[in-house]
Symmetry: C2
Subunit: 204 residues, 2 copies
DNA sequence: TGCGATCGGCACCGATCGGTACCGTTTGAT
DNA sequence: ATCAAACGGTACCGATCGGTGCCGATCGCA
């Protein structure tokens, strides 16, 4: 066997699910494309749903690793890294074939909020938000806790816009908004808290 | 007949499609909920797909009418109307049951960009963008052509965020970003174009 | 009262859905 | 060379998919 059946199933399913939707792709299609027998499929995965979760989990890990490496690869100073996320997003969308975000799509298709598929998708979004938070903190933004969800909202906007318009323009547009957002001084109330922290540190 | 069969089919389908997804809801479910016979269904709609399009078209018209009336109903000066879109969005999301935007969902489920369902969804988004453009122009923003797609991206972000987080917080968050965006002076290059237009007008 | 349109109920169609059981073959390690 | 694990192929399962045809009841209107 050139490649293990499990691996072929995962890659075939990943492509088909992303291109046509999870519900739209039957097990039969996955078997034909992957060249795996029906019995072998159910030896590796208890159900189609379990395959879906395995695919999403793998995509999550790979995509976030790709994002981290891409940002790091730019070799930018810490202060410019948060905004670079939107450059990376533009790169990715240019190569993705414009079917938006696999995890937004999964959340939409798995309507039930309590379903495992929906939860995996939400967990992915939380992980990306955490990454944004880390980039902002490393950039010295004391207001990173407020900014991270805002940048994440811009990321979601860019992803949906790219699906809608069929181009990667949304990423550039979101990037411009992010620049405006980051150019602004932090909220004065945050500044007070920051000063308090400094003072407290000085007393010790 | 209390209400026409067609009307009952449309409302039942609208609710079911939004709550559970288009593909997830079979014709049988719609018939049971609406209390319409199978034959009657196909007397009104040539196929399930045609019902989907009719539902989306009606939802589009209703939703945009609701948005217009809500914004108008606020009784705000023209300058504050663009930002009020996000207040309206928050109101709507609080009553929507957090399954995001029916049109984003439709775009995701109808993967094929050339499919009629996908096109209706895109047309809705274009119409909302046009409305934003109009609000911005009426607010005296000369840069409305650039701002409208940016506000629309924020709207998309708010809708996805609400689906993801299960609250209407995304609308408020997008509104805060929009305020920052609108508080900024228009792009200097636009200012040049604006002045040129004034000069040209003066020569005539 | 009578007529035609609209209606709901039901049986039925082929296709496909996710999933199971059993088959003989191929593979890699010993 | 041997043997067990992993494999692909296929027949089959009940359920559901979207869609058609026919029936008798009910409706609004003249």
């Amino acid at each position: 066997m050139a490649v293990q059946a499990r691996e072929r199933l995962l890659t075939a399913a990943e492509d088909l699910f992303y291109a046509e939707g999870i519900r739209a792709v039957g097990v039969e299609r996955i078997l034909t494309v992957s060249g795996v027998g029906r019995a072998s499929f159910y030896r590796h995965f208890a159900s189609k749903d379990e395959l879906v979760i395995a695919v999403l989990t793998r995509t999550d890990e790979r995509w976030r690793a790709w994002l981290r490496e891409t940002i790091t690869g730019y070799g930018l100073p810490a202060g410019e890294r948060p905004i670079a996320v939107f450059d990376a997003l533009g790169e990715w969308l240019d190569g993705a074939g414009y079917r938006g975000c696999a995890f937004i799509n999964a959340m939409v298709e798995a309507a039930d909020r309590t379903s495992p598929v929906h939860e995996v998708a939400v967990a992915h979004k939380d992980a990306v938000t955490d990454y944004l938070d880390r980039l902002l903190a490393e950039a010295g933004r004391d207001d990173h806790e407020n900014l991270a969800p805002e940048l994440m909202l811009l990321v979601e906007g860019a992803l949906v816009t790219s699906l809608r318009e069929g181009t990667s323009e949304g990423a550039a547009r979101a990037g411009r908004i992010a620049r405006v957002l980051l150019a602004r001084q932090p909220d004065p109330r945050d500044a007070v808290r920051r000063r308090l922290r400094v003072v407290t540190g000085g007393i010790r």
